[in-house]
């Protein structure tokens, strides 16, 4: 059962808002609240786009991203990194690990939706 977007986010209210705006945009959504669950769900659910928070329990967002890029099966998965730490440092690490889009919190809903749409479109074009 492939889904459009997998959300990995531990803050319940943020997760709720993401879930709401992405569903409203018309995509199928699944959500996890820690890093291990995120890796598991990526393999299991094969989402077309991953929205990944950096500050995740158990396994940080960066670690998850690294694993995804290391695995041949998931290497091409478009990933949107969400972080509350707006520092240059995080943005650089995210790019190094191969994040496709980097969005800082608090975000504008339209930006997140636009980015996901862009990633889904690219995914549609390549696959």
């Amino acid at each position: 059962m492939a889904i459009d977007v997998l959300i990995a986010e531990d803050e319940p209210s943020i997760l709720e808002s993401l879930d709401f705006i992405l569903r409203r945009a018309g995509w199928t959504i699944s959500a996890v609240t820690d890093g291990d669950a995120a890796l598991d769900a990526v393999r299991r659910l094969k989402p077309r786009v991953l929205v990944l928070d950096v500050m995740l329990p158990k396994r940080s967002g960066f670690e998850v991203l690294k694993q995804i890029r290391a695995d041949v099966e998931t290497r091409a998965l478009p990933v949107l990194i969400l972080t509350a730490k707006g520092q240059q440092q995080d943005r650089r690490i995210a790019e190094e690990f191969g994040a496709d889009v980097f969005v800082t919190k608090p975000y504008a809903n339209a930006d997140v939706v636009g980015a996901v749409r862009h990633l889904l479109g690219r995914d549609a074009g390549t696959s």
Partner: protein, 899 residues
Amino acid sequence: MLSADFVIATAVGYVGLLFVLAYFGDRRARTHKKSFLHSPAVYTLSISVYCTSWTFYGAVGNAARSGLEFLTIYLGPTLVFVGWWFLLRRLVRISHLQRITSVADLLSSRFGKSNRLAVLVTCIAVVGIAPYIALQLKAVTSSIQAVAGSSEFGQGSLAGIDDVGLAFGIAAGMALFTILFGTRHVDAKEQHHGVVAAIAFEAVVKLAALVAVGIFVVYVGGGFENIFSQAAEIGITMDAENTFDARWLTTLGLSVAAIVCLPRQFQVTVVENSDENHLRVASWAFPAYMLLMSLFILPIAVFGLTRMPAGSNPDMFALTLPMAFGQDALALFAFIGGFSSATSMIILESIALSIMVSNHIIMPLVLRYSSGGSGDGQGMSRMLLIARRFSIVLILSLGFFYFFFTRDSDALAPIGLISFTAIAQFFPAVIAALFWRDASLKAATAAIAAGFVFWVWCSFLPSFESVSPRIALLMSQGPWGISWLRPEAMFGLEGLDPLAHAAFWSLSINVLTLTVVSLLTTQSALERIQASVFVDVFKRGQVARGNFVRGSATANDLFFVAERVLGERRAAALFEAEARESGVDPDMLEPSPGFIGRLERELAGSIGAASAHVMLSKVVSGSEVSLEEMMQMADETQQVIEYSQQLEKTSAELRSTAQQLEDANVQLRELDSQKDEFLSQVSHEVRTPMTSIRSFSEILLDDQDIDPGQRQHFVSTIHQESLRLTKLLDEILDLSALERGERAWDNVPIDAEAALDRALTVCEALLRQRGMKVQLGERAQRTMVEGDADRLCQVFINLISNAVKYNDSDTPLLHISSTVRAGSYVVDIADNGPGIGKRERKLIFEKFWRGPGGVADQGGAGLGLAISRQIIARMNGSLDLVQGPLPGACFRVRLTVLR
């Protein structure tokens, strides 16, 4: 009728007799320590070597020419021996203690054992004495010629030999004689008992001869009065007008200096002295001897002037008068007397000078340039003897050359006074050496050198006036026509007697230089030591006098060593303690073996045992030369110690400064990174609720068609997140204020149990909501502690709610106990949650740290524990994580109970 041949033969025979005397005198002195050779009489007679042929012949001539002036030459020494014998005693004491061998050695030793000064003094002495030696040669030559007269028979084998040849022969003979006499062996103390015995014998002979001639003259002349009245009849009077003029005073002063500083006088009076007490006898006996010597001088002079044909040499009256009366035996006796006075002077003077030349000039050169092959004592001693012999030849040669160049002048006395003036240049330095502690080496050297230069210019040079036209020109016009530099009218001082002029300038400059330079320069350590050794000789003399351990260490010596190694304070303390213990004044301290041992141990602490021992044994055994080295060693050691201590201190300071800087730097960097970390955390913590607020606000704004239930939910989420944000900001401000010590409260006595009860009540709802059971353990009774009730309650609430929030157990359990143990009120709050891993134990009190799962939905910002710890710390208590009764975490609050 006497002939030159007979007289010379007699003289040679007389010398042979002297030689035998000296030989047996030496043997006797060595085998019989108490022989008469060690008596004060012999000592006094040997001192009368002062009376040379200048006295024997010259004084008569001087009296004939200038009346009573000749007396001054005797008055000076009389003053010294009668009035100043304490000066001589001091000189003798010091010289014995320091093993002084000559006047050069004395000055060198006093002024820091400077060999340069010794060389200067020796050179000046050799040059200055040359006229004096020449005088003796001239006197003997004249006396032989007087005997020979002009007759064929009288001249005998001397026919065809002029005075120069005769003088050369005499000089050569004297040199040979002196070498045979004085340099047969080298004695450590430079005492020559045989020579002294011969000199004493000669003193008797010359006195007897002069007295014999005197008695004869008085007899022939019909008594003293008759002689003077006869002379007055033909217009000869003893001119008393010039008495007590400048020249008179000068001669008196010069003779005072001469009796102390003349090398031969120093030799007999000081070096050859075997017992200080002999000075007491000499102090009256020597003046008495001189009185006898001078008693008949005037009658002989006046009688000679009356009876002898005009133009005859008045210097030779003592010889020519008996001859004129046909008393050949008496004339021969007079000749032997004059010969005695000349030989005794030449022998002793050249021995004294040769000791100076060989000890201070030749030996240092030999030692410096020898390959070291002849290092054994035997070779050294032979070397020394050869050096002495060479010096004697040199000294007599100089005397001969002076005679050769100035043979045309006929009076004897002025020549002697030239030497006196030269030798007098040592006198200020000698007096300063004995009495003035601050006199320095530089000053003494400069003073003697300056005085000598003036002597050469004003006294020595003019004596060649009659020989060299150039010098005569120089005398009349000055060098390069500079009139104020004329040797006998320096700086425009004209009309003064040449002798007085020379003595005035040379000695004035000498004394002035000595005084000024001494005041301007500082002494070296060794100079200071030697100065105190010399000046305080009678203060410190007790040691040597009491048990006469030669060279045993004085407290002073030991102190100088100790001061250099231990520093002044420690050394002074050590010596004062010793003085207190032995109950004497510190200045009078006599070091006991025990004290020396203690001192050695003290020194060993600073420079090591071996060095300390070497150093002290050198002082104690009194090896003078090595004292200098030892002082240097001590100085260097001290310098090295001070330097290394300084280095150590400096490097320690540097190290500590560097460490402080590094610490400060680490602290600053730590603070800086903490600040960055804190801001980053705050940013993150603020952004999280802000994200929800913004996102839901946008949803609500964008989409008007959301159903009311959902809208209500979103609005309430926004509200909650706003509250969370507010609480977060409050906590951040609270913690920051606590950390900075602001928002302080006054610790007052409060009931801690009440605060705990209140916290449990507040948390009751939360506990019930999570279904968490509370297990109350032991509870303390009402316990008073210092603090703030609300803040303490806040801490308990934080700890309880943490236990609730992080507990993931199916049957959550909270265990609370409070006890009073050893003056402390202790509250344990434990749970059966996941506990805190080892890695996190250090982190839990850090800001923004949230449980191991980083669980977000607990709503805290991770500041609770940090704040709680700050609060408890301000109540002078502690908040720690401990091993609790349940598997989970256990926090312990500990506060001091008020009594």
